[in-house]
């Protein structure tokens, strides 16, 4: 028997139908997820729902896909999993989204209400397990609360500092019938979001900017979440400010512009790090002073007065003392701030920055006989004209993607920043391609990152998604090997595995596979990859022991970078 259509006049609906109708009411047209015992009632209602549904090969993959879908589209990503193992497999994906403040709603099935706590088959305490990795979670024990709770989940996920919300739904609640007509109002007395910034604080910030001789804008992923790149550009141009970005902030400001200092932090540019250490005013927007950004906190931006614009009051003065906090939405605050700032030439400051830029650009050995991993990224950037959506694994591949791809618009780099989740790149590419079917989506990945989730290649093949995967294959967990080389006397303990023939794996799964082991073959392999209509994996056999430079060793100040001598010798 067919389930009732969504716009049925009938007042009595099963919980599962209420879920589907509420999702559609929230504007959901795409979901990711994996079926299982206790979600059968829900999947039955999804059978003929107008929702594009992508089934991953593992729930973790599905969770990353929903996360990347959200990052690429700006919409809320939705993932479904069954109880027990299904829900447990979401944990890494939820933690990834939580650390990077990505709006997601996860729906999990749960065993029947009366079995909860009895160690039933496929039972896990899902809300208990996922509480620390979600912005909010809850279990719905009464079908009458279902629609409201789902609406609240979307509201919480997509407002304020965004994040994942999980709703656990026992199977009897999905089956129970309820008369669900009329509008459902959300009821969250403890959840308030302040988007408008305090006018006096904004004026104080503007005065500090106007007075500053050596300012730096330090921009994080919050600007991208808030869709505030236009406002950021307006501020940087009007007040004439150099802009450095965190990994997640890349894309918020066009890196081709002269004011861009590119990425800062542990593997950031020398010119960004020097500028931060020398600046007299640091204007942080939607960034959270992560330890990978600050280096040694006590000596971070030692000469600077700090302005911090953030939607999350708890981010203010958490790691670094803030002189002028402005709590609210980046878009609202920047558009107010821009009215009060004045143009200042700051010639000495920009001259100084230009000198650093000239002396210490990101570099690699272009005359090398082997394939340098940076060269692959450089070539991909050149051939995609800085327009592709880039996803990454975690480690050296991620840092080279961040250093050598020049991002020009928001939502262009999709990378697990806070949690540093290896295996994120491939499922993220799938999620991004689902969100942006016409975009070129390239996963710049490491061999060991790719190993973790490569089963999802089958998902890409099934859905005819023309994603591209560039494996920078050095046979190592490259960043771990780099640390072992530098800090553990080159004792490469358990940091290499024997890899399969990735091109053959790709072909076996129905994708296109290419192996490149000669430097001169790189450009045409990239060209062929970009022209492919099928998912395409290119296995670049790169220089095995290349390091990421510069590097601020853990516990050092940002200006104490290693590797600058190596970069200088490459001129």
């Amino acid at each position: 028997m067919k389930s009732k259509p969504c716009n049925s006049k009938s007042t009595v609906k099963a919980g599962a139908q209420i879920i589907v109708d509420t999702l559609i009411g929230e504007g959901v047209d795409t979901m990711f997820g994996y079926t299982g015992g206790v979600v059968l009632p829900l999947f039955d209602k999804l059978y003929d729902a107008p929702i594009n549904f992508v089934v991953p090969r593992h729930e973790q993959g599905g969770c990353h896909m929903a996360d990347a879908y959200a990052r690429a589209s700006g919409k809320v990503g939705v993932v479904v999993a069954t109880s027990g193992p299904g829900a447990c497999n979401l944990v890494t994906g939820l933690a990834t989204a939580m650390m990077d403040s990505i709006p997601m709603v996860a729906l999990t099935g749960q065993v029947r209400t009366e079995l909860i706590g009895n160690d039933a088959f496929q039972e896990a305490d899902t809300t208990g397990i996922t509480r620390p990795v979600t912005k909010y979670n809850c279990i719905v024990k009464d079908v009458k609360d279902l629609a409201r709770t789902i609406r609240e989940a979307f509201h919480i996920a997509s407002t304020g500092r965004q994040g994942p919300v999980l709703i656990d739904i026992p199977v009897d609640v999905a089956v129970a019938k309820f008369s669900a007509d009329g509008p459902v109002e959300i009821d969250l007395p403890g959840y308030r979001v302040r988007t408008k910034g305090h006018a006096r604080q904004i004026s104080m910030a503007a005065k500090a900017i106007n007075k500053s001789k050596q300012p730096v804008l330090y921009v994080g992923g919050g600007v991208i979440s808030a869709n505030a790149s236009e406002e950021l550009r307006a501020l940087a141009e009007k007040a004439h400010l150099p802009v450095t970005m965190t990994l997640l902030g890349l894309g918020s400001y066009d890196q081709r512009k002269a004011e861009s200092l590119d990425m800062l932090g542990m593997h950031g540019s020398a010119y960004a790090n020097y500028a931060v250490q020398e600046c007299d005013l640091l204007i942080a927007v939607g960034a959270r002073f992560d330890d990978r950004v600050t280096g040694k906190v006590a000596t971070f931006a030692p000469k600077a007065k700090v302005i911090h614009i953030d939607i999350d009051p708890a981010s203010i003065s958490k790691n670094v003392n803030v002189d002028i906090p402005v709590v609210g939405g980046a878009k609202e605050i920047l558009s107010e701030l821009v009215k009060e700032v004045e143009y200042e030439e700051r010639k000495n400051w920009f001259d100084k920055i230009a000198q650093w830029k000239k002396k210490f650009p990101f570099r690699y050995d272009q005359d090398s006989q082997t394939i340098k991993p940076q060269y692959v990224v450089d070539e991909v950037c050149r051939q995609t004209k800085s327009e592709a959506i880039i996803t990454t694994g975690v480690g050296q591949n991620q840092m080279w993607a961040a250093q050598f791809y020049k991002f020009t618009r928001p939502r262009q780099l999709i990378s697990s920043g806070g949690l540093g989740t290896m295996g994120y790149g491939l499922p993220a590419a799938i999620g991004a391609q689902v969100a942006k079917p016409d975009a070129t989506v390239v996963d710049i990945d490491g061999d060991h990152s790719f190993n973790m989730t490569m089963t999802e290649l089958a998902t890409a093949v099934e859905h005819n998604l023309p994603i591209k995967v560039c494996i920078l294959n050095n046979g190592y967990m490259g960043m771990v090997r780099q640390w072992q080389e530098l800090f553990y006397g080159k004792r490469y303990s358990k940091s290499y595995l024997s890899n399969p023939d990735y091109a053959a794996v790709a072909r076996a799964l129905g994708a296109v596979g290419i192996t490149v082991d000669k430097k001169e073959d790189v450009p045409k392999a990239v060209k062929k990859m970009l022209a492919e209509k099928k998912p395409c994996v290119v296995d670049f056999r790169v220089e095995r022991e290349e390091n990421v430079w510069p590097m601020v060793p853990a516990g050092k100040s940002l200006n104490e970078m290693d590797g600058l001598d190596i970069l200088e010798r490459l001129i």
């Binding site: 809300t127 208990g128 509480r131 620390p132 912005k135 909010y136 809850c138 279990i139 919480i156 969250l188 007395p189 403890g190 959840y191 999350d312 009051p313 708890a314 203010i316 003065s317 958490k318």
Partner: protein, 162 residues
Amino acid sequence: MKHLISALVENKPGVLAHVAGMFAARAFNIDSLVVGRTEDPKLSRMTIVVVGDDRVVEQVRKQLAKVVPVVKVQDFVGQPIVARDLMLVSISAPPEKRPEIVSLIEMFKGKVVDIGQKTLMVEVSGPESKIEAFINACKPYGIKSVARTGTIAMPRQAKVES
């Protein structure tokens, strides 16, 4: 420094887990945490005693406010408040010592609530310092067991101007 933080929270399942989980995840130390109903059946009040410098407690306050079912957070530091603990304590009390112990209990405005063969159970309430002082005063007799509620508090109202 000890801070008394009062949080109004939604009275629904899982709220304590959300709050306790946040404290554990962020490595904040709780001295005591008391939850109870309020005049509004939809709300409960949590009174939390946290130890830490101003910076830590500021983070506690903000992180607590971020927990979705937490409606309102107040730090009582520097405010005139009434703070009270309730304690039940069982004191070793052989018959010959009882008059002396009872006079001690009277000095602290305590109440004997149970009399055993060798022990007295006493109820004492008051500010934490008074509770601690009573425990110290009873120590020489031998304390069998202690049960304390933890601190609850309320700000004092402004005095009527004459």
